[in-house]
Protein backbone atom coordinates (compact mmCIF):
# COMPACT_ATOMS: atom_id res chain seq x y z
CA UNK A 1 0.00 0.00 0.00
CA UNK A 2 0.84 3.67 -0.13
CA UNK A 3 3.46 4.92 2.34
CA UNK A 4 2.71 7.94 4.52
CA UNK A 5 5.53 9.62 6.45
CA UNK A 6 5.07 12.41 8.95
CA UNK A 7 7.65 14.73 10.42
CA UNK A 8 8.74 15.60 12.99
CA UNK A 9 7.68 12.64 15.17
CA UNK A 10 7.69 14.81 18.28
CA UNK A 11 7.44 18.54 18.80
CA UNK A 12 7.50 20.65 21.93
CA UNK A 13 6.37 24.26 21.70
CA UNK A 14 6.05 27.19 24.03
CA UNK A 15 2.52 28.55 24.10
CA UNK A 16 2.13 31.21 21.41
CA UNK A 17 4.70 29.72 19.03
CA UNK A 18 3.98 28.65 15.45
CA UNK A 19 4.72 25.27 13.90
CA UNK A 20 4.62 23.36 10.63
CA UNK A 21 3.91 19.64 10.39
CA UNK A 22 4.73 17.75 7.23
CA UNK A 23 3.17 14.72 5.54
CA UNK A 24 4.85 12.99 2.59
CA UNK A 25 3.10 10.25 0.63
CA UNK A 26 4.50 7.82 -1.90
CA UNK A 27 1.78 7.82 -4.58
CA UNK A 28 -1.10 9.82 -6.03
CA UNK A 29 -4.08 10.26 -3.73
CA UNK A 30 -7.84 10.78 -4.00
CA UNK A 31 -8.27 11.95 -0.44
CA UNK A 32 -6.06 13.46 2.23
CA UNK A 33 -7.23 14.27 5.73
CA UNK A 34 -5.58 15.79 8.79
CA UNK A 35 -6.76 14.72 12.23
CA UNK A 36 -6.04 15.80 15.77
CA UNK A 37 -6.20 13.05 18.38
CA UNK A 38 -6.64 14.70 21.74
CA UNK A 39 -5.29 13.30 25.03
CA UNK A 40 -8.62 11.51 25.60
CA UNK A 41 -8.20 9.59 22.34
CA UNK A 42 -10.88 11.35 20.35
CA UNK A 43 -10.15 11.80 16.62
CA UNK A 44 -11.09 15.25 15.41
CA UNK A 45 -11.33 16.04 11.70
CA UNK A 46 -9.23 19.10 10.92
CA UNK A 47 -9.10 19.23 7.15
CA UNK A 48 -10.23 17.28 4.11
CA UNK A 49 -7.64 18.54 1.61
CA UNK A 50 -6.65 16.33 -1.36
CA UNK A 51 -5.24 19.49 -2.99
CA UNK A 52 -4.99 23.25 -2.45
CA UNK A 53 -5.07 25.34 0.70
CA UNK A 54 -7.64 25.67 3.47
CA UNK A 55 -7.77 27.69 6.66
CA UNK A 56 -9.78 27.27 9.84
CA UNK A 57 -8.98 29.78 12.55
CA UNK A 58 -5.39 29.34 13.72
CA UNK A 59 -4.93 26.24 11.60
CA UNK A 60 -4.29 26.02 7.89
CA UNK A 61 -3.24 23.26 5.53
CA UNK A 62 -1.74 23.03 2.08
CA UNK A 63 -1.50 19.97 -0.13
CA UNK A 64 0.70 19.93 -3.23
CA UNK A 65 -0.59 16.75 -4.83
CA UNK A 66 1.84 16.79 -7.75
CA UNK A 67 4.79 16.80 -5.31
CA UNK A 68 3.12 14.37 -2.90
CA UNK A 69 3.19 16.31 0.32
CA UNK A 70 0.93 18.22 2.66
CA UNK A 71 1.69 20.76 5.37
CA UNK A 72 -0.31 21.64 8.48
CA UNK A 73 0.37 25.05 10.01
CA UNK A 74 -0.50 25.84 13.60
CA UNK A 75 -0.20 29.48 14.60
CA UNK A 76 -0.23 31.00 18.10
CA UNK A 77 -0.29 27.52 19.65
CA UNK A 78 -2.34 26.86 22.78
CA UNK A 79 -2.07 24.10 25.39
CA UNK A 80 -5.31 22.64 24.01
CA UNK A 81 -3.47 21.99 20.73
CA UNK A 82 -1.49 19.24 22.45
CA UNK A 83 -2.02 15.71 21.19
CA UNK A 84 -1.14 13.68 18.13
CA UNK A 85 -1.67 14.96 14.60
CA UNK A 86 -2.30 12.35 11.92
CA UNK A 87 -2.20 12.64 8.17
CA UNK A 88 -4.15 9.98 6.28
CA UNK A 89 -4.63 9.34 2.56
CA UNK A 90 -6.72 7.25 0.18
CA UNK A 91 -4.66 6.19 -2.81
CA UNK A 92 -5.85 5.88 -6.41
CA UNK A 93 -5.62 2.10 -6.68
CA UNK A 94 -9.24 1.64 -5.66
CA UNK A 95 -8.43 0.78 -2.06
CA UNK A 96 -11.21 1.92 0.18
CA UNK A 97 -9.34 2.80 3.30
CA UNK A 98 -7.42 5.71 4.73
CA UNK A 99 -3.74 4.90 5.17
CA UNK A 100 -2.48 6.66 8.29
CA UNK A 101 0.95 8.04 9.04
CA UNK A 102 2.49 7.40 12.46
CA UNK A 103 1.67 10.90 13.60
CA UNK A 104 3.37 13.94 15.11
CA UNK A 105 3.07 14.24 18.88
CA UNK A 106 2.74 17.90 19.82
CA UNK A 107 3.18 19.17 23.35
CA UNK A 108 2.44 22.83 24.03
CA UNK A 109 3.79 24.08 27.34
CA UNK A 110 2.47 27.20 29.09
Amino acid sequence: GIQVEQSPPDLILQEGANSTLRCNFSDSVNNLQWFHQNPWGQLINLFYIPSGTKQNGRLSATTVATERYSLLYISSSQTTDSGVYFCAVVDQTGANNLFFGTGTRLTVIP
Binding site: G1, N96, N97, L98, G101
Partner: protein, 112 residues
Protein backbone atom coordinates in the same frame (compact mmCIF):
# COMPACT_ATOMS: atom_id res chain seq x y z
CA UNK B 1 -27.16 14.87 13.39
CA UNK B 2 -25.38 12.67 15.90
CA UNK B 3 -22.83 11.65 13.24
CA UNK B 4 -21.12 8.33 13.98
CA UNK B 5 -21.89 6.74 17.34
CA UNK B 6 -20.24 3.72 18.91
CA UNK B 7 -21.05 1.55 21.89
CA UNK B 8 -19.68 0.59 24.31
CA UNK B 9 -17.01 3.16 25.18
CA UNK B 10 -14.95 0.70 27.21
CA UNK B 11 -14.95 -3.07 27.63
CA UNK B 12 -12.80 -5.69 29.32
CA UNK B 13 -13.00 -9.24 27.98
CA UNK B 14 -11.48 -12.49 29.12
CA UNK B 15 -9.56 -14.60 26.61
CA UNK B 16 -11.97 -16.68 24.55
CA UNK B 17 -15.02 -14.49 25.15
CA UNK B 18 -16.88 -12.87 22.27
CA UNK B 19 -18.57 -9.53 21.85
CA UNK B 20 -20.08 -7.15 19.30
CA UNK B 21 -19.03 -3.55 18.91
CA UNK B 22 -21.87 -1.41 17.67
CA UNK B 23 -21.59 1.43 15.14
CA UNK B 24 -24.38 3.63 13.78
CA UNK B 25 -24.34 6.63 11.47
CA UNK B 26 -27.17 8.99 10.63
CA UNK B 27 -25.62 10.76 7.64
CA UNK B 28 -26.96 8.29 5.04
CA UNK B 29 -23.41 7.42 4.05
CA UNK B 30 -22.85 4.47 1.76
CA UNK B 31 -19.38 3.58 3.02
CA UNK B 32 -18.58 2.42 6.53
CA UNK B 33 -15.28 1.28 8.02
CA UNK B 34 -13.80 -0.35 11.10
CA UNK B 35 -10.25 0.58 12.14
CA UNK B 36 -8.11 -0.42 15.07
CA UNK B 37 -5.43 1.68 16.71
CA UNK B 38 -2.64 0.06 18.68
CA UNK B 39 -0.63 2.15 21.16
CA UNK B 40 1.62 4.74 19.50
CA UNK B 41 0.43 3.86 16.03
CA UNK B 42 -1.88 5.13 13.34
CA UNK B 43 -5.14 3.39 12.50
CA UNK B 44 -5.39 0.24 10.38
CA UNK B 45 -8.45 -0.93 8.47
CA UNK B 46 -10.15 -4.12 9.64
CA UNK B 47 -13.25 -4.32 7.42
CA UNK B 48 -15.26 -1.97 5.29
CA UNK B 49 -18.63 -1.87 3.55
CA UNK B 50 -19.69 0.00 0.42
CA UNK B 51 -23.40 -0.45 1.06
CA UNK B 52 -25.99 -2.63 2.75
CA UNK B 53 -25.27 -6.30 2.16
CA UNK B 54 -21.70 -5.73 0.94
CA UNK B 55 -18.59 -6.11 3.08
CA UNK B 56 -14.92 -6.69 2.39
CA UNK B 57 -11.67 -7.25 4.25
CA UNK B 58 -9.14 -4.55 5.03
CA UNK B 59 -5.53 -4.85 6.16
CA UNK B 60 -6.07 -6.70 9.46
CA UNK B 61 -9.33 -8.76 9.29
CA UNK B 62 -8.26 -11.93 11.15
CA UNK B 63 -10.31 -12.63 14.27
CA UNK B 64 -13.19 -10.32 13.27
CA UNK B 65 -16.47 -10.50 11.40
CA UNK B 66 -18.87 -7.83 10.18
CA UNK B 67 -22.32 -7.51 8.72
CA UNK B 68 -24.21 -4.66 7.05
CA UNK B 69 -27.93 -5.31 7.01
CA UNK B 70 -28.90 -1.61 6.96
CA UNK B 71 -27.31 1.61 5.71
CA UNK B 72 -27.06 2.95 9.25
CA UNK B 73 -25.49 0.06 11.18
CA UNK B 74 -22.16 -1.74 10.84
CA UNK B 75 -21.45 -4.01 13.84
CA UNK B 76 -18.04 -5.62 14.39
CA UNK B 77 -17.96 -9.06 15.94
CA UNK B 78 -15.02 -10.48 17.88
CA UNK B 79 -15.05 -14.24 18.28
CA UNK B 80 -12.68 -15.95 20.73
CA UNK B 81 -11.03 -12.76 21.98
CA UNK B 82 -7.23 -12.79 22.23
CA UNK B 83 -4.81 -10.39 24.00
CA UNK B 84 -3.59 -9.26 20.56
CA UNK B 85 -7.03 -7.70 20.03
CA UNK B 86 -6.47 -5.26 22.88
CA UNK B 87 -6.79 -1.96 21.04
CA UNK B 88 -8.96 1.07 20.43
CA UNK B 89 -11.57 0.49 17.75
CA UNK B 90 -12.89 3.30 15.58
CA UNK B 91 -15.84 3.21 13.23
CA UNK B 92 -16.04 5.69 10.35
CA UNK B 93 -18.33 6.53 7.46
CA UNK B 94 -18.18 8.46 4.20
CA UNK B 95 -20.36 9.15 1.19
CA UNK B 96 -17.86 7.49 -1.14
CA UNK B 97 -14.33 6.13 -0.87
CA UNK B 98 -12.71 9.42 -1.90
CA UNK B 99 -14.87 11.66 0.27
CA UNK B 100 -14.12 12.81 3.79
CA UNK B 101 -14.40 10.10 6.43
CA UNK B 102 -16.09 10.89 9.73
CA UNK B 103 -15.07 8.98 12.83
CA UNK B 104 -16.89 7.84 15.93
CA UNK B 105 -15.53 8.34 19.47
CA UNK B 106 -13.94 4.88 19.67
CA UNK B 107 -14.26 1.79 21.85
CA UNK B 108 -11.35 0.91 24.13
CA UNK B 109 -11.13 -2.89 24.41
CA UNK B 110 -8.86 -4.81 26.77
CA UNK B 111 -8.52 -8.60 26.56
CA UNK B 112 -7.05 -10.24 29.64
Amino acid sequence: NAGVTQTPKFRILKIGQSMTLQCTQDMNHNYMYWYRQDPGMGLKLIYYSVGAGITDKGEVPNGYNVSRSTTEDFPLRLELAAPSQTSVYFCASSYSHSNEQFFGPGTRLTVL
